[in-house]
């Protein structure tokens, strides 16, 4: 599937798209998970894993540099044969579908818990799928624009999170590295789930307007992700006491409960509604990516047919079976394993293969 002119995305859109897929729903529970394993030093784990994830995304970009005009399945089909391409397309389709389904069910569960307790989950799913379909059908450029716009529209959110600092106790952070490095490194594994999404580069790289800036863009995007996580985690760590934080499922939302104005109480309610736009940064791009890969698999030019099928499938699936919060956590665990292999291990193997392959080919010449 060759890139059509007029579908290129700018570097900023690419950065925000990657960051959006990563941050999306993952940020909500991250401070709790980090606090559970690494205690109040959890924020150091973010810095540690930041380096790892940046390395992984750089590897992905290195791989994609071999295929400036096609996505990863295109490259694989060209170099390794059609079936290799199909396998990779299938793998990516599955992976993006799981990512999409996880993000979507999390959003649905959060919506159901906080905003619409009496509405059946499948209704909320259909509701969320509506804008998803509308935006994803336009292709990468519109998805990129959407991510960009939503990021700009959410720039005010960090300011609100400064408000709880009135009751903050910075003493919670001290002493730094209180239990040695062991818990910090263990905590870093909690960062796998929140950094998933770098695989988008496998599909989006050919659409980049300035491919030479791709390296800088992934560095910027993982740094932006890291800053977001660091900011939210630090706020939660200084606001909650080290023992209390583990009691909240989504501390990032619960923090807001402390904010109260004379004219509005329970500020988290409108916030979660607005957060749906940020959550959508997970499922809208992954919806596009998944259907892109599946269209590639079935050699379809237009993704709309696949998009409709996927939307209907998801809606039907949620109608017959709605995961509970616990099952969603189980799915998250599966996703962590899957993601670790697709986004960290698989690229590493692929890159070493490519290096070897190129060297062999050069020697043969």
């Amino acid at each position: 599937m060759k890139v059509h002119p007029g579908h290129e995305i700018t570097s900023l859109q690419y950065i925000f798209l990657l960051t959006g897929v990563q941050v999306g729903v993952a940020v909500l529970s991250l401070p709790r998970k980090l606090a559970e394993t690494a205690g109040t030093d959890g924020w150091i784990s973010i810095l540690v894993w930041w380096l790892v994830s940046m390395l992984a995304s750089l590897i992905i970009v290195q791989i994609m540099k071999n295929s400036p005009r096609g996505s990863l399945p295109d490259w694989a089909a060209e170099v390794l044969g059609v079936w290799a391409g199909k396998t990779i397309a299938l793998l990516l389709t599955l992976y993006f579908c799981v990512l999409l389904y996880d993000g979507l069910t999390k959003s649905v569960l959060i919506t159901k818990t906080w905003l619409l307790p009496n509405t059946p989950a499948y209704v909320i799913t259909v509701l969320l799928l509506l804008p998803t379909y509308m935006i994803a059908r336009h292709g990468p450029r519109i998805v990129g624009r959407y991510c960009e716009l939503i990021v700009y529209l959410s720039l005010w959110i960090p300011l609100v999170y400064l408000l709880p600092l009135k009751q903050a106790h910075f003493i919670h952070l001290l002493p730094v590295v209180k239990d040695g490095w062991q818990p910090i490194l263990t905590g870093a594994k909690e960062m796998i789930y929140p950094t998933l999404g770098m695989a988008a580069t496998f599909v989006l790289y050919p659409y980049l307007k300035h491919k030479e800036k791709a390296t800088a863009a992934v560095i910027a995007s993982s740094s932006l992700t890291m800053l977001t996580y660091l900011f939210m985690t630090l706020i939660c760590l200084v606001y909650y006491s080290p023992d209390e934080i583990a009691e909240y499922n989504n501390p990032v939302i619960s923090v807001l409960k402390s904010i109260e104005f004379r004219f509005i109480e329970r500020i988290e309610v409108p916030f979660i509604a607005f957060y749906l736009t940020i959550f959508s940064l997970v499922w809208i791009p992954t919806m596009y990516l998944a259907t892109f890969c599946s269209s590639w698999l079935f050699a379809r030019k237009d993704i709309r047919g696949q998009l409709q099928i996927l939307c209907i499938l998801i809606a039907l699936a949620t109608y017959f079976y709605t995961p509970t919060l616990y099952q969603n956590l189980m799915m998250e665990k599966i996703l962590i394993g899957f993601g670790l292999s697709v986004e960290y291990i698989f690229p590493l193997i692929l890159l070493s293969f490519i290096v070897l392959y190129n060297r062999l080919r050069r020697r043969n010449c």
Binding site: L12, P131, H138, I142, L149, P270
Partner: protein
């Protein structure tokens, strides 16, 4: 030898454009040589809506034949006047035909009939004729002659000549230039467009007296071709827009275009979207400033509004007054309008969502007052809100349709009904009245009528969503609205520009309006050929 005949029209009509040639004001000299006519044809190659084949000359040479043919063509046309005369200058016989009412009587009497009949000093038959008409075109085909007559020219047939002369004696009923009705301005000009295309072009030209202001003329409509002119600056406007616009207008195949609004329906990018994708303005200064930014203006003859293309979403929040007031207040007004857009679209939906789903976010004291007011109301919030919003819409429509003196009465009755009676009767809550009044007033400050119309419909969609799903519904509506803004195109340009895709340089004239001397470049969103529009114009401050 004066003969006035009343004859009739058959439906025979000509295609093509009324061709405009400015010739020497006093002299009219054109010999009926065939090669010269071909030369004219070549020069006169104006774009046609549909390819008309080059007609063979088919005019009769003898006056009686011509009169007979005219009578056959125009049956049941009492306003066609056929005047026989003999030309003193050359001694030839002639016939003048025109439609009474479309022509200027003074001009025909003083500039055509008088010189032809009473001023001597001409040459032999077939030589030049002296008339004090500025603008004379020779035609050799009936099709062109008919078209000329129907468009208000008077046509002079001379015995034994192969061509007839269309004399520009147009003069139809027309109103005087007035203040624009829909877009009044405090400090801007007070001239609005009229119903005559050529005058509208002149109004724009007054602002841009520049050779580079080019006009592409097309004719739209089979039965009553209206001349549609695309105005643009040749060295500024991106040629893609002109090409697209031209192609789209040429594709129109209709009887008649009555108004610019009809043209819009045929050429806009996405007819199913709620959002307007082209601006129609009735202000020459606004049109001129848009042309200077690198956009095209489309003047449709017979319509008092001019189209601007391509436009983006944020252009609907700009008003020409922004540039004639100081930048600080202009910036404030911009932000006010953007806020008003969201209030007008979202406020009733938010009310419904809060009252029926999320009342826990209201602080206790406010909740008690709200509860007191809501408690007496028998209607659910959604019905209450829809009822009130529909009342508002009815009042607004009533105000528009009624003549001004009666319109005021509607305002008073409506104000009392909305304001007090419904609340006292316990039908509607106090807060709802506040919400409706607020949305109504907010929608009035948006400068563009089409955008207000979009907001009015958007409001109802959001209200339905809010009544079904509370805040979630509103957010879904918001996301769908964003989808529209980022995915729509106006003449191929992204509608969301400069917000999505983000063009930081263009924000200078979008969310804020920075001082004019900081806007040295044309907006990127028009992708103009010449981006620089001014140099450093601000004097250097005196040293202290």
């Amino acid at each position: 030898m004066i003969l006035m005949e009343r004859v009739a029209i058959s439906g025979l009509l000509a295609n093509g454009v009324q061709q405009q040639y400015v010739m020497n004001r006093h002299l009219f000299h054109r010999k009926p040589y065939a090669h010269q006519w071909e030369g004219w044809q070549r020069i006169m190659k104006l774009p046609h809506n549909h390819q008309s084949t080059e007609h063979e000359p088919d005019l009769e040479e003898h006056i009686p034949d011509i009169i007979q043919h005219l009578q056959q063509l125009f049956t049941d046309t009492p306003d066609l006047i056929i005047r026989k005369l003999s030309i003193v200058q050359t001694g030839e016989k002639a016939v003048l035909a025109y439609l009474d009412g479309l022509t200027d009587k003074n001009s025909i009497n003083n500039d055509v009939l008088y010189p032809l009949q009473f001023e001597k000093g001409g040459g032999d038959p077939g030589s030049e004729l002296f008339m004090t008409v500025g603008h004379i075109v020779p035609y050799t085909t009936w099709a062109k002659v008919i078209e000329a007559i129907l468009n208000g020219d008077s046509v002079l047939f001379v015995d034994r000549r192969k061509e007839a002369y269309a004399l520009d004696t147009k003069g139809w009923p027309q109103r005087a230039i007035e203040d624009p009705q829909l877009e009044p301005s405090l400090k801007g000009a007070h001239q609005g467009f009229l119903e005559t295309g050529s005058q509208n072009i002149a109004l724009i030209r007054r602002y841009i007296p520049n050779r580079e202001l080019k006009i592409k003329q097309l004719a739209v409509g089979k039965r009553g071709p209206a001349s549609v002119s695309i105005l643009y600056l040749e060295d500024v406007t991106n040629t893609e827009f002109i090409q697209l616009l031209e192609d789209r207008i040429k594709a129109i195949n209709v009887d008649v275009i009555i108004n610019t609004g009809e043209l819009v329906e045929f050429i806009e990018d996405n007819p199913y979207s709620l959002f307007p994708q082209l601006i129609s303005t009735e202000r020459p200064d606004a049109a001129a400033s848009q042309i200077l930014q690198g956009r095209c203006a489309v003047v449709v003859d017979r319509s008092p509004s001019v189209l601007i293309a391509p436009v983006n979403f944020m252009a609907f929040f700009q008003s020409i007054d922004d540039y004639s007031t100081r930048w600080s207040i202009a910036t404030f007004l911009r932000m006010l309008r953007i806020a008003a857009f969201f209030i007008a679209a979202f406020l009733p939906a938010l009310y419904i969502a809060v009252v029926s789903y999320h009342f826990e976010i209201i602080p206790m004291k406010l909740l008690i007052t709200l509860g007191e007011s809501r408690g007496r109301v028998p209607l659910p919030p959604f019905v209450e809100a829809v009822l009130m919003e529909i009342t508002l819409e009815i009042l607004r429509e009533a105000g528009v349709r009624l003549p001004a003196p009666v319109g005021q009465t509607v305002g008073i009755v409506g104000g009392i009904v909305i304001g007090q009676a419904v609340v006292q009767a316990g039908l509607i809550s106090n807060v709802m009245v506040v919400v409706v009044a607020f949305t109504g007033i907010s929608s009035f400050i948006l400068p563009n009528y089409d955008m207000v119309a979009a907001v009015r419909l958007l409001r109802f969609i959001l209200m339905i969503l809010a009544s079904l799903f509370g805040f979630v519904g509103i957010i879904i509506g918001f996301m769908l609205m964003i989808e529209q803004i980022i995915a729509l195109r106006s003449l191929g340009m992204p509608y969301g520009i400069p917000l999505a895709p983000m063009r930081f340089a263009d924000l200078k004239d979008t969310l804020v309006r920075v001082p004019l001397w900081l806007m040295n470049k044309r907006p990127i969103s028009t992708s103009a050929l010449q981006s620089k529009r001014q140099g450093n114009s601000r004097f250097k401050g005196e040293e202290e």
